[in-house]
Every structure is written in structure tokens, then in C-alpha cells.
């Protein structure tokens, strides 16, 4: 049972990690905490449903459509709603993302209010035996995809010129602008990438959870908990936090009480903020008195 709980926890935690990564990208590049990221997650899954049901496209083409759609949604969100507020206080930006979250949820409820739509697994096949535990093909795909994305991000941000430029621009936007870097364009691109990350997570988990307009809300809380646990703004922290949270939820449910699974994310947020506000991999910050 322990091994199975660990294996399953890593699979679910990988989805948390992907959502947290998408939010971290936005936070790092724009300092915006995106409260509508759960809706990007939901729209990704619905993009596949719409392309399959209304347009009759194959699963593969529908996934590509959904990812491109969310890239466009992310880019447009930044250009139309966020950029005009670039000089506004942080709370204004946060409220804009909250408003957008309710708007997107409302639109999907308008069209799919009553429906909970099943999606077939992306990868069917025999389960894999792992030391007495069973790993299903869909879960293996989730873990594998997350590993590839994490590796890709590491290489991009640590080894490529563009990745370093983006990091520099996010840390010192005025300086970056002075040396000729198009900071608004970079931020715009990061909104697109963040939305695609959310959509990818939604598409991966949808065959397990079904697709419905409110599916993003709970995921957002878990992504926040993952970011807090790993370290707000840290890429490896988001991954570590997500996977740790997934495993923790399963272990608590399996060995302590299933009634505590739901509140594990909240307990993590509270515990981290009290004991180690910077998270596991975050850097400590000095605060002016």
C-alpha cells in the first residue's frame, strides 16, 4: 500500500507541479499572481472537448488545437487586460485575474453548465508493475510529460541566451529596457507559455477527473500550496512542492485519515508560512522594519 500511495501521489503531484510551474512562470516574469490560472487549466480540457464534439477532430489534433487556443488566450489576456494596468498597484492586477477567473468560469458554465464530460485516456495499455504497485499508462504519461517539461525548462532558462535574458528582464525590467530588450514582448510570451502549461495539465488530468466548468478551483489551491511549499517563484520549488503535496495527500489519506486529504493543501500553506515562509527552495528575504 505504501508503494502504491507513493506512486499514485507522484502522478497526481506531477499535475499539481505542472499547474504550479505555469503560475511560477508568470510570477517570475511579470510578478503577477494569476488567480485565473485554474481557468486556463479548465479551458485546456474544454478546448479538447469542443474540438472533438463540435468540430469532430481527432484526439491528437484536438489537443494541439487546445494548446494553441490557450496560447492565444494567454497572449491576449496580457495584451488586452494586464498590460494597460502595468503601472497599477499589485492588488489591481490580482483583482483583474480574479475577475477574469469568474468570467471564464461563467462562460464555460453558460455552455456546459450541467455537463460533466468524460475524456478517454491519452495513453491506454497494460498497467506497469513497480515493486508491488501499479502504475497506469495515463499516470506514467503524466509523470513522463512533467519530467520532460521540467528538463526543458531547466535547459531553456539555465543554458540558453533567451532564457537568461528573460530571467534578467524579470529581475530588472527597467535595466533590460535600457539595453534594448523588448520587455513587454517577453512578458506577453510568458503569459502565453503559462496558459499553455495550465492547459497541458488540464488535458493530462481530465481523463481521470472528467471535464466540468468548476474543475480549476481546487487545482488552483493545490498549485498555491505547491508554490508555497517549494518556494514562491522557484521553478524547481514548484515541481518539488507539487510532487511533495501529491504524495503527502496520499500518505495522510492512507495512514492518518481520509477526512484530512482535503485540508492537506491548506495545512501545508499555513505550516510553510509559519515555519519557513520562503519554502523549501526559496530564498530568504530581508524585510524592512
Amino acid at each position: 500500500m505504501l508503494v502504491q500511495l507513493l506512486v499514485s501521489g507522484i502522478a497526481v503531484g506531477s499535475v499539481y507541479a505542472l499547474v504550479a510551474l505555469g503560475m511560477t512562470i508568470l510570477y517570475r516574469s511579470t510578478t503577477v499572481v494569476n488567480f485565473c490560472h485554474g481557468e486556463f487549466f479548465m479551458l485546456g480540457a474544454f478546448g479538447v472537448v469542443v474540438a472533438q464534439q463540435l468540430l469532430g477532430w481527432s484526439y491528437g489534433v484536438s489537443i494541439v488545437f487546445a494548446l494553441v487556443l490557450l496560447l492565444a488566450v494567454g497572449v491576449l489576456t496580457e495584451r488586452v487586460l494586464i498590460r494597460p494596468l502595468r503601472n497599477a498597484p499589485f492588488v489591481t492586477l490580482a483583482m483583474m485575474t480574479v475577475a477574469l477567473s469568474y468570467l471564464l468560469k461563467g462562460v464555460s458554465r453558460f455552455f456546459y453548465g450541467r455537463e460533466v464530460v468524460p475524456l478517454p485516456p491519452l495513453l491506454a495499455g497494460e498497467p506497469i508493475e513497480l515493486g508491488g504497485a501499479v502504475l497506469f499508462a495515463q499516470d506514467a504519461l503524466i509523470v513522463g510529460f512533467t519530467a520532460v517539461v521540467v528538463a526543458g525548462f531547466f535547459v531553456f532558462f539555465q543554458r540558453t541566451q533567451l532564457g537568461k535574458v528573460i530571467q534578467a528582464a524579470s529581475q530588472a525590467p527597467r535595466g533590460a529596457s535600457l539595453v534594448g530588450i523588448n520587455v513587454p514582448l517577453l512578458r506577453n510570451a510568458m503569459w502565453g507559455v503559462g496558459a499553455v502549461m495550465g492547459a497541458a495539465a488540464g488535458i493530462l488530468i481530465a481523463p481521470n477527473t472528467l471535464v466540468y466548468p468548476d474543475m480549476g478551483g481546487h487545482m488552483l489551491i493545490r498549485a498555491f500550496a505547491a508554490m508555497c511549499l517549494g518556494g514562491f517563484g522557484s521553478f524547481p520549488g514548484a515541481v518539488l512542492g507539487g510532487v511533495t503535496l501529491g504524495v503527502l495527500e496520499n500518505l495522510v489519506g492512507g495512514f492518518v485519515s481520509s477526512a484530512l486529504v482535503e485540508i492537506t493543501a491548506y495545512l501545508v500553506i499555513v505550516a510553510v508560512l509559519v515555519l519557513r515562509p520562503q519554502g523549501i527552495l526559496g530564498e530568504g528575504r530581508s524585510v524592512r522594519a
Partner: protein
């Protein structure tokens, strides 16, 4: 003489006015009733993950619309004012306040989620003159103890839970019963009577686990159940979480049959789970008198389709109909001089009211507002739903 004639005419006019005014003032004094209309407020989850609970609302509204098409009740048409509570207690409170205070309805017929109805119960207790007919929420605590203006025309959670346990124990050799449940008010309202019913049989739950609303994974719960080696699992879950549980049960090899509540439609669940092996041993408490494709049920299916041609026809579609028919019956018996007091008095006189929709007859008395006390289960036999009182021998 002229003076006398004029005086006589004035006297006649005054007498006529005196005769008419009380009748008019009685009609005007009853909120939500006008000479040609009775305003009935309805609410249910029209949106959100539990929006399948809008189907009972559609069924009940079909009854009211059919009454209007037949000319109404004592010359009055029923006007429906519909609100969305999304099964959210806060929204249910807002919807009820709006219907009662702003829309000035005669009565309210609504509530599919028990949490939402329990949240408005204090508000209803504060306005004892406003009749409330429950649409589909099943929590026993809604009608026990009795609140004079709350009428509960469906099998309560206590009835459902006892029936689930009784059915589970009809499986040959079944002694080990496990439970997976929500921990909210609705879950507890099933859990406690189920545990009491097990205890009455000299048994205890071999494992009780909780799966909360919105959770995306049931691995830890399913593994705990599997370790307990149950003969039967009682699942007290709303449709989205039951879907996750059934899928995970199949994945992790839980072989025990699952018996679940009336909050689920078997047809909807088979579609949602989309894994026939996962729903092969699923038994759902069945609140209706017959299967939807039976000849006896055709007239109700046709009526529902007439007013909701684009909406799905499922078990839940008919759960609000008996309550609506009880409302119509009481409105007719209350007569043309309708008041809320007369209406509730007529509801309290309903005995063995059985239009042939639900699993048993409806009876309300001043001391008993939980009106239905019988039910069976339904399961899929191949592609066809079958009703059973005992665990089928073919399984």
C-alpha cells in the same frame, strides 16, 4: 319617492361592495396570489458540477406547465419564478430571500442539495407562513423533527440508508460492509442511519473513508477499502466523486459491488464513468415506481419531453414531479379563496397520494412531513436498467 329610489340604489351598491370586498381582499392579502395567477418560486442547481440536479426542477416545472395548459387551478395560472443556487448554501439563502421578499411568491418549491436546503431551514422557520416543498434534497434532518411549513415528498436519507444496508446484506454471505462517504451534512445524514442499521443487524462497518467534494483522486481511500476486503461498499457520494471512486476502484481491483444513493442517475453514471466494467456491479437506490422505458411510465416520460424537448430524460428528471402534483392537489382542494394556511392544511391531509411516479405513496400529516418511506435499487443488466429488491442471483 325619488329620494327613496336613489337611497335604495346606493344601499344596493354598498351591499354589493361589502359582499365583494372581503373576497377581493382575501385574494389580495395572500402573497403571490392574484385573481389570475399563483406565483411559485423554484430553485435548484442550474449550473456547476451538480447541475444534473436541475433535472428534477425541469420535471416539476413540466407538471406546473401542464396544469396551465389544462386551464390552471380555479381560474388561476401558475407563474414560475426560477433561481439558480448551484448547490451552494449561500446562493440558496440568497435565492430563497429573493423569492420570498422580492418576488413575493406564494410558496417555494426547490432545493436539490441537502446542504443548500439545510442552510435555508432557519430562514424558513423564521417565515412559518411561507410553504416550502422540497424538490429533491433527501437529508432526513430537513423534515425530522417537523417544521410546519417544510414538506418533504421524497425518500429521506434515513430511508435510503436503511434500504441500502438491507439490500447489501441480501448478497449471499455478505457480512463485511465498508462505506465511502462525503463528510458533509448530506453524507452524515446517510452515514448515521446506515451505521445504526448495520448495528441492528449485529454488524459494524469494516472501513469508513471520506472523499470530499472536488477531490481529483481517490487512491488512498480506495486502497484502504481494498485492504478491508469488503463484501459490499456503500458509497454516499455526489456524482462527480462517485465517478472518480468507481474508476479508481476498477483501477486498483476492488471487487466488491457498490450500492449508492438516489442522488445518482444510473444512466448518467454509466455515461460519465465510460468504463462498463466499473459500473457492472453498481446498484443505485431507485426512487421511482418503474423503469423509464416501461409502458406504465410512458405518460410521465411523454409529459417531461413535451415541456423539455432538448433535455435528457433520466431518473432524476422525475424526482420533483410527485411534489409538484402534491402542490397541485392541495391548491385544488384549498378552493378558489386560496390562502397559505388553507394550502398547508390540505397538504397535511394528503394520505397515500400515489400518482405512480415514485417508489411508494406520499403521506403527510401534521406530525410527519417525510412523505415517502419505500424504495428499491436499480442496476444495469447488459444495456438495460433493471429494478431489484434483492441482490440479483445472476450476479
Amino acid at each position: 319617492m325619488q329620494f327613496t329610489k336613489r337611497r335604495a340604489m346606493w344601499s344596493l351598491a354598498a351591499a354589493t361592495a361589502l359582499a365583494v370586498v372581503p373576497a377581493l381582499s382575501a385574494a389580495q392579502a395572500t402573497t403571490g396570489v392574484s385573481p389570475d395567477k399563483i406565483r411559485i418560486g423554484m430553485f435548484g442547481p442550474l449550473t456547476g458540477p451538480t447541475a444534473v440536479g436541475s433535472l428534477p426542477l425541469l420535471g416539476a416545472s413540466a407538471i406546473y406547465k401542464s396544469v396551465n395548459d389544462r386551464g390552471g387551478i380555479h381560474g388561476r395560472k401558475i407563474e414560475l419564478v426560477i433561481e439558480d443556487d448551484a448547490c451552494d448554501p449561500n446562493k440558496a439563502i440568497a435565492a430563497t430571500k429573493k423569492l420570498v421578499s422580492q418576488e413575493q411568491v406564494f410558496m417555494v418549491h426547490g432545493g436539490w442539495c441537502s446542504g443548500a436546503v439545510m442552510a435555508i431551514k432557519p430562514e424558513l422557520a423564521r417565515t412559518p407562513d411561507v410553504p416550502f416543498m422540497v424538490l429533491g434534497a433527501a437529508n432526513s434532518a430537513i423534515s425530522t423533527p417537523v417544521t410546519p411549513n417544510i414538506f418533504h415528498p421524497i425518500a429521506t436519507t434515513a430511508t435510503v440508508a436503511r434500504s441500502m444496508v438491507d439490500f447489501a446484506l441480501t448478497k449471499p454471505g455478505a457480512k463485511r460492509v465498508a462505506i465511502i462517504s462525503h463528510s458533509d451534512e448530506w453524507g452524515k445524514s446517510h452515514l448515521e442511519p446506515a451505521l445504526a442499521q448495520l448495528k441492528a443487524q449485529g454488524l459494524e462497518s469494516v472501513e469508513t473513508v471520506y472523499l470530499e467534494r472536488g477531490q481529483v483522486d481517490a487512491t488512498s481511500q480506495v486502497l484502504r477499502l481494498k485492504a478491508a476486503k469488503p463484501d459490499v461498499v456503500l458509497a454516499v457520494l455526489y456524482p462527480p466523486e462517485l465517478t472518480i471512486y468507481l474508476r479508481d476502484s476498477l483501477k486498483y481491483g476492488v471487487k466488491a459491488p457498490t450500492v449508492t444513493t438516489q442522488g445518482v442517475s444510473i444512466e448518467d453514471m454509466v455515461k460519465r464513468v465510460a468504463m462498463p466494467a466499473a459500473t457492472k456491479e453498481l446498484f443505485v437506490f431507485y426512487p421511482l415506481a418503474d423503469t423509464l422505458d416501461s409502458p406504465a411510465y410512458r405518460k410521465w416520460v411523454d409529459l417531461y419531453r413535451k415541456y423539455n424537448p432538448k433535455d435528457p430524460v433520466e431518473t432524476l428528471s422525475f424526482m420533483g414531479m410527485t411534489g409538484a402534483l402534491a402542490v397541485v392537489e392541495a391548491l385544488e382542494k384549498a378552493g378558489p379563496d386560496l390562502t397559505r394556511e388553507k394550502f398547508m392544511a390540505e397538504l397535511n391531509k394528503l394520505r397515500n397520494f400515489d400518482p405512480g411516479i415514485q417508489s411508494g405513496p406520499l403521506t403527510f400529516t401534521p406530525e410527519q412531513h417525510a412523505g415517502i418511506s419505500a424504495g428499491k435499487v436499480i442496476y444495469m443488466s447488459g444495456d438495460k436498467p433493471q429494478i431489484a429488491a434483492k441482490y440479483p442471483a445472476s450476479k
